[in-house]
C-alpha cells in the first residue's frame, strides 16, 4: 500500500463515511473515536455500553482486515519509542481538550460544516504538517 492508492483510499473513505452515518441513524451519535474511547474511561450510567460495543465492532473489523487485507497492517513507525510515547499522550490529552479528532471533527464535523470542527481540523492538520516537517527535515529524526 505504499504510494498513492486512489481506488482503495476512496473506497475506504466512503466506508468510513457510511459507518459514521449508520451510527448517527442508529443511536444519534457522532462517530468520534477519541470521544467514544474516552467515554469508556469515565463511564456514566446509560452512556457506556454502546461505546464498548462500537469499539468491539472496530476490533472485529480490524481482525477481518488482518485476515483479508494484511498489507494494511504492515506498520512502519520512523521515530523512537520515546517519541511514540510522547506522541500518544499528546494525541490522547489534545483530542479531549479540543473535543475531537480526525473522525469527530475531521469527518463528521467538517461534513456537518460545523465552525468549531472546521477550525479544529485546520489547526491540527497544519500543526501536524509543521511538526512532521520539523522532526523529519530540520532536526533529522526524533
Amino acid at each position: 500500500m505504499e504510494g498513492f492508492t486512489p481506488v482503495l483510499s476512496s473506497i475506504g473513505g466512503i466506508l468510513i463515511g457510511l459507518a459514521a452515518v449508520a451510527l448517527l441513524l442508529v443511536n444519534g451519535r457522532i462517530a468520534g473515536i477519541s470521544g467514544i474511547t474516552a467515554g469508556v474511561l469515565h463511564p456514566t450510567q446509560g452512556n457506556t455500553l454502546w461505546r464498548v460495543v462500537f469499539l468491539g465492532g472496530m476490533l472485529v473489523g480490524a481482525m477481518l482486515i488482518r485476515w483479508l487485507h494484511p498489507e494494511a497492517l504492515a506498520i512502519r513507525i520512523d521515530v523512537s519509542n520515546a517519541a511514540v510515547l510522547l506522541g500518544g499522550f499528546l494525541v490522547g490529552i489534545g483530542t479531549r481538550i479540543g473535543n475531537g479528532c480526525t473522525s469527530g471533527h475531521g469527518v463528521c464535523g467538517v461534513g456537518r460544516l460545523a465552525p468549531r470542527s472546521m477550525v479544529a481540523s485546520a489547526v491540527f492538520f497544519s500543526v501536524a504538517v509543521f511538526t512532521s516537517w520539523l522532526i523529519r527535515h530540520v532536526t533529522g529524526g526524533f
Partner: protein, 150 residues
C-alpha cells in the same frame, strides 16, 4: 438489534480505515510531509470521500424526528471558537505529526500486535484519562463553590 447495528457500524468503520490505508502511519506521514520525495495524497482523498459521504447523507438522517434506537440526536450545537478547542487541537496535531497515528487507526492497528502501536495506545489512553480526571475534579470544584448557573 440496536447493539448489533452499533457493532456493525464500528466494524465498518475499522474496515474502511484498513481499506483506505490510514492504519499505516507511513501513509499518513507520506501525506503530512509535503516536502518528502514521494508525496502521497491518499489521506486527503480519504478525508474528502468520508466527509463528503457524511455531508450528503447526514441531513437525511437528521430530518427524522429521532434516531432508530434513541429518543434524541446527540449532535454538538456549540458554535463558539474557544481556547481549549484551539489549544487541544494544537497538542493533537503535534502528536499526530510526530508518529502518524490518530485515535481511530490506533484502535484498528492494535490487532497488528506491534509493540509501538501498543505503546502509542496506552499513552493515548493515559492522556485521555488525565484530561478526564482534570475535567471531573474541575467540575466538582465549581459545583462546591457557589456558582449561579450551577
Amino acid at each position: 438489534m440496536k447493539y448489533l447495528a452499533i457493532f456493525s457500524s464500528g466494524l465498518l468503520f475499522a474496515v474502511g480505515l484498513g481499506v483506505s490505508g490510514m492504519t499505516l502511519p507511513q501513509k499518513v506521514i507520506g501525506f503530512l510531509d509535503f516536502s518528502g520525495e514521494n508525496w502521497d495524497p491518499s489521506l486527503g482523498l480519504v478525508m474528502i470521500t468520508s466527509a463528503g459521504v457524511f455531508m450528503l447523507l447526514h441531513r437525511r438522517v437528521l430530518r427524522r424526528p429521532t434516531p432508530l434506537f434513541d429518543t434524541d440526536f446527540h449532535v454538538p450545537t456549540r458554535n463558539d471558537i474557544d481556547g481549549p478547542l484551539v489549544f487541544g487541537s494544537i497538542l493533537f496535531g503535534i502528536g499526530w505529526g510526530m508518529v502518524g497515528f490518530c485515535p481511530g487507526p490506533t484502535v484498528t492497528a492494535l490487532v497488528s500486535g506491534q509493540t509501538q502501536v501498543w505503546i502509542f495506545f496506552v499513552a493515548m489512553v493515559a492522556g485521555m484519562y488525565a484530561e478526564g480526571s482534570l475535567a471531573v475534579s474541575n467540575r466538582l470544584l465549581t459545583q462546591r463553590g457557589d456558582t449561579v448557573d450551577g
